[in-house]
């Protein structure tokens, strides 16, 4: 599978990364090269193999559904590019 410019445009949109028009072709070439390389996995018969997501086979630990920590609004907002009245501020989304 090779990635064409339309595919790159779509992926960039999904990844929320602005890509200039003149960057589409070189990116399509690079991504196609990488995809062609990773497609060598098709040689491997995996029809009887279950996917492995983690090498830790322990059960996910559980805990009480209770607040255990928190109350750091000021500390957290201190890193925000824009904070207003105790909130993160973003460009207006509703006219």
């Amino acid at each position: 599978m090779s990635a064409d410019e339309a595919t790159v445009r779509k992926i960039a949109r999904l990844a929320r990364i602005k890509v200039k028009d003149e960057e589409l072709a070189p990116l399509a070439r690079e991504l196609s090269q990488i995809l062609a390389w990773i497609e060598q996995l098709d040689e491997v018969d995996t029809s009887k193999v279950a996917p492995l997501a983690s090498t830790v086979d322990a059960k996910l630990p559980r805990r009480q559904d209770k607040v255990a920590d928190g109350g750091y609004r000021e500390k957290i907002l201190a890193n925000a590019p824009e904070g207003v009245a105790g909130f993160f501020a973003v460009p207006k989304v509703v006219e």
């Binding site: 990844a15 193999v49 090498t55 207006k92």
Partner: protein
């Protein structure tokens, strides 16, 4: 007396205990060393005031006989670990001015053990790289040069700054993270010891996430003993990381010097790659002899899916990265580049904030997770990952450890391999399999290439068998007697 910056951690610990010097004197010497190695561009942030304050506390604790495992030991921290009140960048423009209001579990444990913080080291952006060339803060230079060639070399990556400062005698040890080789490869390129523990051995909490099923923190030191000392302080269960494993932390140092008599050492026949320099092959064979001389038994093994480890990694790691890096949106921290609306603000911020390699990997990851491709790429890679783990599981039925080269080449020059991402990815051919299988691996400096650069040998072990891995590594270390030094050190600067 030996210069304080030349000591190993074990020697410094003894000197502090005997009162031969104070933690303050040790910290002063290292603060000066950090300044002296500035030409390497290995630190993003230096924290001399903090180092001196921590050293004074250490002196008080030593005096009152409350010294911790790493009391007064000056360390460098990869700038991927969140440190409370100290700029944390992950080598990325998108984390501009980010000052964590919390401390990572691993660094918190180091400080609790008495370690002294020298600063935050440079790295490939978001730990994505094998050269330290992708950092927003510029490349790190390797303190080593080829014989008769003055071109600057890369220190490897992604923990390149950590490797360079330990090699250049500007820190007694450092911590790194290893997702596909990011501790072991730079350790090999810089002539130091680098240990990637078993996945789950050290908490990942507070480490800027790259690929969460692969990332693991570990020590980078000038001796195997020092790595054992540091690992004991770093390891342990953490309720804040659901993948950290609740197993007791042994005294790794006590395992050193164990006899290798009867130990079965696997030699994987697939770890011979085309174009590998003859020097690496010869060093590997030398390693077989060293193990045999120590009483170990060599066993040829097969890890048949080795050649698929890299393409598997380059699906899984970008996929996990693309979701981990979704959090960088210009809203909660770091860089914001304005746009006409919210969506455009996100897109502008991420285009400007991420470097080329990070953008490339986020896009690959987005692609392999997108509708219509998820099964063909992502699930396929997870299935091959199961086969790679199974290769190791089968091998460890007959052998106790595996001996392999750490890297397929010595350090390369700054700027080389930059045009071809796949050539760059091949650096990790011998290190990536242990990450995919979650196994511990350590690189030990074992010899020099024809042009005088350090080369490493790697020991890979069963999950949570760090004691066996370290004891085998210490035998390699003793047999190799690696005493070469980089041309540039804090003392020579």
């Amino acid at each position: 007396m030996t210069a304080l910056t030349e000591l190993t951690i074990a020697e410094a610990r003894a000197g502090l205990a005997q009162g031969s010097f104070s933690a303050k004197e040790l910290a002063d010497a290292h603060v000066r060393a950090v300044e002296a190695v500035r030409p390497l561009n290995a630190f993003i942030s230096e924290t001399p005031e903090r180092a001196i304050a921590m050293a004074r506390t250490s002196d008080a604790r030593i005096k009152s006989r409350e010294a911790g495992l790493l009391e007064g030991i000056p360390l460098a921290i990869k700038d991927l670990f969140c440190t409370e009140g100290v700029l944390t960048t992950a080598g990325s423009h998108i984390l501009d001015r980010f000052t964590p209001p919390y401390e990572s579990t691993v660094t918190a444990q180091l400080w609790r053990a008495g370690a002294v913080m020298l600063g935050k080291t440079n790295l490939d952006e978001f730990a994505m790289g094998s050269s330290n060339m992708t950092s927003f803060y510029g490349p790190v230079e390797n303190p080593w040069r080829r014989r008769g060639d003055n071109r600057p070399l890369v220190p490897g990556g992604s923990s390149g700054g950590s490797a360079a400062v330990v090699a250049a005698r500007a820190a007694l040890g450092a911590i790194g993270t290893d997702t596909g080789g990011s501790i072991r490869q730079p350790a090999a390129f810089s002539g130091i010891v680098g240990l990637k523990p078993t996945y789950g051995r050290c908490s990942r909490w507070g480490i800027v996430a790259f690929a969460s099923s692969l990332d693991q923190a570990g020590p980078m030191t000038r001796s195997v003993r020092d790595a054992a000392i540091m690992l004991r302080a770093m390891a342990g269960h953490d309720a804040k990381d659901s993948t950290s494993v609740d197993l007791p932390v042994p005294d790794y140092e006590a395992a050193l010097g164990r006899s290798l008599k009867g130990l079965k050492v696997g030699i994987p026949k697939e770890y011979r790659v085309d174009g590998m320099p003859i020097g690496i092959d010869l060093l590997w064979q030398q390693g077989w002899n060293w193990m045999k001389d120590a009483g170990a038994e060599l066993v040829e093994i097969s890890l048949p899916h080795t050649k698929y480890a890299l393409p598997t990694y380059y699906i899984i790691a970008p996929a996990e990265a693309s979701s981990n890096l979704a959090r960088y949106d210009g809203v909660r921290y770091g860089l914001r580049v304005p746009g006409g609306d919210l969506s455009e603000m996100y897109e502008n911020t991420r285009a400007a904030g991420f470097g080329r390699e990070v953008r490339r990997r986020v896009m690959i990851g987005t692609y392999v997770l997108s509708a219509g491709y998820y099964d063909a790429y992502y699930l396929k890679a997870q299935r091959v990952r199961a086969l790679i783990l199974n290769d190791f599981t089968e091998a460890f039925k007959t052998v106790d450890v595996i001996l392999a080269p750490s890297t397929p080449s010595a350090a390369f020059a700054v700027g080389e391999k930059m045009d071809d991402p796949i050539a760059m990815y091949l650096n990790d051919v011998f290190t990536v399999p242990a990450n995919l299988a979650g196994l511990p691996g350590v690189s030990v400096p074992a010899g020099l290439s024809e042009d005088g650069l350090p080369l490493g040998l790697q020991i890979i072990g069963r999950a949570f068998a760090e004691e066996t891995v370290l004891s085998a590594a210490s035998v390699l270390e003793a047999a190799a007697g690696f005493a070469a030094r980089p041309g540039f050190t804090a003392g020579s600067a």
